[in-house]
């Protein structure tokens, strides 16, 4: 219906006060358009549903496509239908009530689906914010009475209340969405990237080196220690070409010494209707040593690597307990290291120094690994567990968040 009201008797602006006296301008026409439909409700419904849709897609990205059931597809479609409904309300305000009612149901259905799906979802607080915003938007749409001639005065209290509601919701969305947008977690597991996560809160080792699958022909390598031609397979793909090999050696100066050692893998399965089965191995301390000539203690194929701190030290005197000279410090970065030669050590990654320094003061070092071999390893407070759970409290390992902000990764990262 057309809204011809402009001002009330006392001259206060009303809902039917679109132009406030400037009836022909673009702004006036926009105001008139806004006033004849539940703009706030439709916007909030669209925004909330879009947030839920984003979280649903993020959740499903962790599941191989073939494992998504028709119910899962329906659940994934629902928030996008709600987004369309929000836009539909703007185009056809006379259908607002029906659209609001259906939108309310879809928002609720999506959030319930996220909780009950059995697949872990990161940032549940963000999904809840989407549910709150979408719910408020849907209720405002539901309450919209297109045919009503009752006018509600837009006094200062109404305006302040509406502004507080919008600001509050936007702030809640900004605070909850920031961690999800920053991507500041490890690893980025998806259907094309499986692997088991190896997490170490502290790491010291006699020596650290790596080899990558780089472009140089291994046949031309001098000394046989340059590029390697590797393909590692993983739980859902036979060939991961973005792989590197990390080696930790024990020397006469130091063994490989890890504190708060954790290995876990999420194995999605049809067991009991599609739960996530997790395999977990933990120890408060792990010490790996080797008596072979090369001192190789741990040999691991990885596709992702992150460390919040690593210090390379050069030993002038090889004697246990000597501190060594700090050669390089690596603050947090996440990458698969690689350089042209395909072979390097901890300080070779950034500085290009071809030395074999000790690795000390490693903090929050995480690997996305595919094969791991270790020589003699003593694990204290050992625990091996396999289980399944529906929620994300105990059953599913969350990605490991980083405490510090990332610094720029070296240019030779893959």
């Amino acid at each position: 219906m057309a809204r011809d009201d402009t001002t009330d008797d006392e001259g206060a602006a009303t809902d039917g006060d679109p132009s406030a006296g400037r009836s022909d301008g673009l702004r006036a026409r926009f105001d008139r358009w806004v006033a004849t439909r539940p703009t706030l409700g439709a916007t909030l419904l669209t925004l909330g549903s879009a947030v839920l849709g984003w979280r649903v897609l993020a959740q499903l990205s962790a599941v191989p496509l073939g494992r998504i059931t028709p119910v899962g597809v329906a659940g994934a479609t629902a928030p996008f239908v709600a987004v369309v409904l929000g836009l539909f309300v703007l185009a056809r305000p006379e259908k607002t009530r029906n659209a609001g009612g259906v939108g309310f149901g879809l928002v609720g259905f999506t959030f319930a689906g996220l909780l009950l799906s059995g697949v872990p979802f990161a940032h549940p607080e963000l999904a809840f914010t989407g549910f709150v915003i979408g719910g408020i938007g849907a209720v405002i749409c539901l309450a919209w009475d297109h045919d009503s001639t009752v006018r509600i005065e837009r006094g200062p209290v109404f305006r302040a209340g509406r502004a507080a509601l919008v600001c509050g919701l936007v702030l809640a969305l900004a605070f909850t969405a920031a961690p999800a947008v920053s991507g500041d977690t490890f690893p980025a597991q998806s259907d094309t990237l499986d692997g088991f996560v190896v997490s170490q809160s502290s790491l010291d080792s006699g020596m650290y080196s790596y080899q990558t699958d780089c472009d140089t022909d291994p046949g031309f390598a001098i000394g046989g220690e340059d590029c390697i031609d590797i393909t590692v397979d993983s739980t859902s793909q036979e060939n991961i070409d973005r792989a590197a090999r990390q080696q930790l050696d024990s020397t006469s100066v130091a063994d490989v010494d890890i504190n708060d050692f954790l290995i876990y893998e999420n194995l999605f399965t049809d067991l009991r209707g599609g739960k996530n089965v997790y395999f977990e191995l933990t120890a408060s301390q792990a010490v790996a040593s080797s008596e072979t000539d090369d001192g190789r203690a741990i040999d691991v194929y990885i596709s992702e690597f992150r460390s919040e701190k690593l210090t390379a030290r050069l030993d002038l005197i090889e004697f246990p307990g000597t501190p060594g000279i700090p050669a390089d410090n690596i603050a947090y970065w996440s990458c698969t290291p690689q350089n042209d030669s395909g072979f390097g050590t901890i300080n070779d990654i950034r500085l290009g120094l071809d030395t074999n320094p000790r690795l000390t003061d490693g903090r929050d070092v995480s690997l996305l690994a595919h094969q791991l071999g270790s020589s003699e390893t003593v694990l204290t407070d050992f625990k091996l567990e396999i289980g399944a759970e529906l929620g994300n409290n105990t059953g599913v390992r969350e990605p490991i968040p980083a405490d510090d902000g990332p610094t720029t990764p070296p240019s030779n990262c893959l």
Binding site: D15, G135, L271, T380, N392
Partner: protein, 220 residues
């Protein structure tokens, strides 16, 4: 404009829904809780346990709970304690719990296979340990861990790991180093089988806790 009654009832429904979701999350932490760990089974504890070689793969129990299947070639166990606690409250005329314990000071076993969902130990030592992730149609094919020789003789990648298992280890500590060694081990198992088992200084005892207070009033 807005129908205030409808707005009020809508807000009411919304607040109720949020409260329900909040209660659900606060009370359980998850949307739905289904018991997924095996409730049956029995507990094995040992002061010292070795394996000459061992493989570990994901498996499932008969009641379809996830577990890992441990297969051990040869094993030596000191201070073995096998314990099963039964709730007999459902039996007419009985209350409380009944516990059966089998103890042995020394045991050697060959061809041991057991399914477990949890192993803890004060220390665990591996010599030549490999974790290997593979592509496979079932989850049970996708993850393999072994100590000792590579069970499939297959390379992990087309560029084999430099550490690829080890030779079979010793069983008794006096004979050398075992491939896998646990001290202060506690294992929750659902099934346990062995081709050959030798137990020395064996004792069997049954204890009964009639009032379910955690203290076994009857029995040795």
């Amino acid at each position: 404009m807005y129908d205030t009654k409808r707005l009020a009832s809508g807000v009411g429904v919304l607040l109720t829904l949020w409260a329900l979701v909040g209660l659900l999350i606060l009370s359980t932490g998850v949307g739905v809780s289904i018991p997924l760990s095996s409730t049956g089974g029995f507990n094995v504890s040992a002061d010292y346990l070795t394996a000459s070689e061992a493989t570990v793969v994901p498996a499932k129990t008969k009641i379809v709970t996830p577990s890992v299947l441990f297969e051990v070639e040869r094993s030596y166990i000191r201070d073995l304690n096998l314990q099963k606690t039964l709730n007999v409250s459902d039996v007419p005329g009985l209350t409380g719990r009944l516990q059966i314990q089998i103890r042995s000071e020394e045991a050697t076993a060959e061809g041991v296979a057991f399914k477990t969902d949890r192993i803890t130990a004060q220390t665990a030592t591996w010599r030549g340990f490999v974790l290997d992730e593979r592509t496979g149609p079932k989850i049970f094919d996708r993850f393999k861990a072994y100590a000792g020789p590579n069970p499939n003789q297959a390379p992990n990648t087309n560029d084999p790991l430099q550490i690829e298992g080890s030779d079979p280890g010793a069983i008794r500590p006096s004979d050398g180093d075992p491939a896998f060694e646990l001290r202060g081990a506690k294992i929750t198992t659902s099934t346990l089988s062995a081709d050959q088992l030798q137990l020395s200084d064996l004792s069997l005892r049954v204890r009964y806790d009639f009032n379910n207070d955690g203290e076994f009033e009857y029995g040795a």
